[in-house]
Amino acid sequence: MPEIAELEKLLQKIALADQQAFRDFYDATAAHLYPVALRILREEGRAAECLQDAFVKIWLKASEYQMGRGAPLAWAAAIVRYQAIDDLRRLPKDQPGWEEEDWEHWGGQASSPDASMFSERKRLQDCLGQLPSDQRQAISQAFYRAASYEEVARFAGEALGTVKSWIRRGLLSLRDCLHHASE
């Protein structure tokens, strides 16, 4: 994992239009961010295009990053994720094979070289585990697949309103649990 302090320093320079700093930021993060796009768009060409657009946004938005927030990679990953979600809207709606992977346990078993990242992952897994199973499945799908409410509802065979309330309630309990776990 790239160093947080180093990435924040680079972002500070990028905000002042330092192109070398931007190149360094790209080199340090692109390989971590590409899979974020790939996982949602599931096709290399689309994911590459998405990553390109996302990095142009990172260049433009660097000054909005709150220094000391301590999560430059999460900030950049969010920009990639939002770009991928925007790109998804332009794709045909035939995305079969959701069951191809054990999405509910994705990321749970492998060991990350970064201990803090691993413990954060474990915290999320633990907190997800405390949710009722319908809420847990709906959130996991939305999260790992970037599925919309409609898609989760279709997959679960439930009414849209039901799924919306599962996700809303689930998110709020998840947040309480994560806050509690970090105290």
Binding site: L16, P35, A48, L51, R81, I85, E120
Partner: protein, 228 residues
């Protein structure tokens, strides 16, 4: 709608935005609100910090090389460092006065049509603190001197369009520096902006999306384009 009156709703919308289940027009509307309400953006940032670490992969995977080339092609062309131009004054002496002026204009205004609008905000001592340059949908801000602000306050910049409510242009930097070229908020057309104003707001920006205190500084937007 004043979402700040419903913190739980705001929180779950922010969560759904980061999760990605908020789609379509609701998502667009929420994105607009984010630009107007810094406190809402802060909720989103919290959700991002909570959830995003889990989207990062166990195994990094390098993207195709074409990605960087595509990104680099969209960056502004590198210019000679701005900080050094006055050091060439010796060279200018050797040039005729007229030519020197032409060179000066070329250096100072590398692309006059690109950023035809500008405004300079002065402090109470009449010293320039911020310079805004803009074209219709882009803007860039130079902060020329430090502006100390209490820890629990932020300075917020507003665009004033006649007949409309003030539009937030974001929080002002308080240390010298320059921003990259940014998109104007909310598709604001700078051509319609009559003046810009600064208010002191709670840290993170106005909780209501509108100025909550009196205007501290203001400046007219000037067009450097000659009207024909």
């Amino acid at each position: 709608m004043h979402l700040n009156k419903w913190p739980k709703l705001a929180d779950s919308l922010a969560g759904a935005y980061v999760l990605g289940t908020l789609r379509g027009r609701a998502r667009l509307r929420f994105t607009r609100m984010l630009r107007a309400y810094p406190w809402l953006a802060a909720r989103v940032a919290e959700w991002e910090d909570t959830l995003m670490p889990y989207t990062l992969p166990q195994k990094p995977l390098a993207p195709p090389r074409s990605v960087w080339h595509g990104v680099a092609a969209q960056l502004p062309k590198r210019k000679t460092p701005v900080s050094g131009w006055w050091q060439k004054v010796g060279l200018w002496r050797a040039l005729s006065a007229g030519l020197a002026l032409a060179v000066l204009l070329l250096v100072l205004w590398p692309a006059p049509p690109a950023m035809p609008y500008m405004a300079v905000l002065n402090n109470t001592a009449g010293q320039p603190v911020w310079m805004l340059r803009a074209n219709r949908h882009h803007m860039a801000l130079v902060t020329m001197r430090s502006m100390p602000v209490p820890a629990d306050k932020s300075l917020q910049l507003w665009a004033i369009v006649p007949g409309k409510k003030p539009i937030s242009m974001g929080l002002l930097p308080t240390r010298p520096g320059r921003t990259p070229i940014l998109l104007t908020p909310d598709h604001l057309n700078m051509r319609r902006v009559a003046l810009i104003a600064v208010t002191m707001e709670p840290a993170g920006g106005s909780p209501t999306g509108q100025p909550t205190t009196a205007v501290l500084y203001k400046a007219d937007i000037l067009s450097t384009q000659l009207s024909s």
